[in-house]
Symmetry: C2
Subunit: 185 residues, 2 copies
DNA sequence: CAGAAACCTGGCCGATCGGTCAGTACGGTG
DNA sequence: CACCGTACTGACCGATCGGCCAGGTTTCTG
């Protein structure tokens, strides 16, 4: 792994655990065994470092949204499955966006995250459904994302195999979303 | 409303929206139309200000847990109803704890929040249930809490009457938790 | 009225933040 | 050899942070 990637991995772990604002470049440098100036040599700014960490996950989310738009309609289970896989793939980035997206919305890359999440909600026409439907989707996707984010903090899983988590999440989402918008069959 | 309470309300709104670390005492002072030194006259420190904001909600949560412990067992719907009411009552505090609890766990009042959340999860024996059960509870409670926290940010509700939100959340939680631990009937 | 108590302020402190810059070490490459 | 791009560093910068303090003002109270 290149020094560049190593720094990114260290920063991701720290950002996810302690938060972006609370993680100083000095701390990242210490963990990597180099000087703060060296970190800023690899990444021109702290925001840029955050962007390089978060953007790959957002790119995948963007692709998922685009593919749904192009299809016009999508089978419900297909979307749920792909969404869960996306969350699991970018497991470490999820807490970052979930827990600190609101706080860091003035940072471009986090604003992008907010916009993408809004598009996800619009995709399901949350704005036009009944209150019950809106909240059903909110609880479902928010709950899955937040559970992944808070998992190790509350000791909810940790040692559970990914496959098991995946199938359980799929079942839960299926239960929650079955009586949903019929446009997405 | 006393000047003291006014400051608390201003700080709560800012902490919830922008985050604790990102909200400076200077900004709170500006919004209240006074000097930073005056804010520190009313609250001896920034952490103390946070504690006075969060503790009332944690006190209520503590009381809920104690009453369940004393009862030995609790009807499922009773707990769910009381929990939802608690979240709705302290609606503004929820995003603070949810989004920034992990980041600020070294702050005593936030650590208290973490411990209480852990006790909630233990109450439902999340550690001994199946993976599916664990995640079901995680998604349910995390989802409800997070949905309230993210509500206005993503424009999911905002103008929906509280009563409607309340009944919808109760229905969703009921659906999710019905096939749950039989010890809490 | 006098004095205590509550309230508020500007100025200052040390610490830390993200970021800049000149300069050093070094492995290729002609 | 000279030259160059990459990697890295210590010293420094301005800004901002939470917090402290001496002292001024306002308000309550005997």
């Amino acid at each position: 792994m290149s020094r560049h990637d190593e720094l990114r991995a260290i920063a991701l772990a720290e950002f996810a655990m302690a938060g972006f604002a609370a993680t100083s470049l000095q701390r990242i440098a210490d963990l990597a065994g180099m000087s703060k100036a060296s970190v800023l040599y690899h990444f021109e700014s702290k925001e840029r470092l955050l962007a390089e960490i978060v953007n790959p996950a957002l790119d995948d989310l963007d692709m998922l949204i685009v593919s749904i738009d192009q299809a016009g309609a999508l089978r419900h289970s297909d979307f749920v499955e792909r969404f869960v896989d996306l969350l699991l793939t970018h497991r470490q980035v999820v807490p970052l966006v979930i827990n600190q997206g609101a706080t860091l919305d003035d940072v471009p890359v986090m604003h992008r995250a907010t916009l993408l999440m809004r598009r996800i909600s619009e995709l399901f026409r949350l704005a036009s459904g009944s209150t019950l439907e809106k909240l059903r989707f909110g609880v479902a996707f928010g709950g899955v994302a937040y559970t992944l984010a808070a998992a190790e903090r509350l000791g909810l899983n940790g040692e559970i195999p990914i496959d098991e988590v995946r199938s359980a999440l799929l079942e839960i989402l299926h239960d929650l979303l079955v009586p949903a918008d019929p446009r997405i069959a």
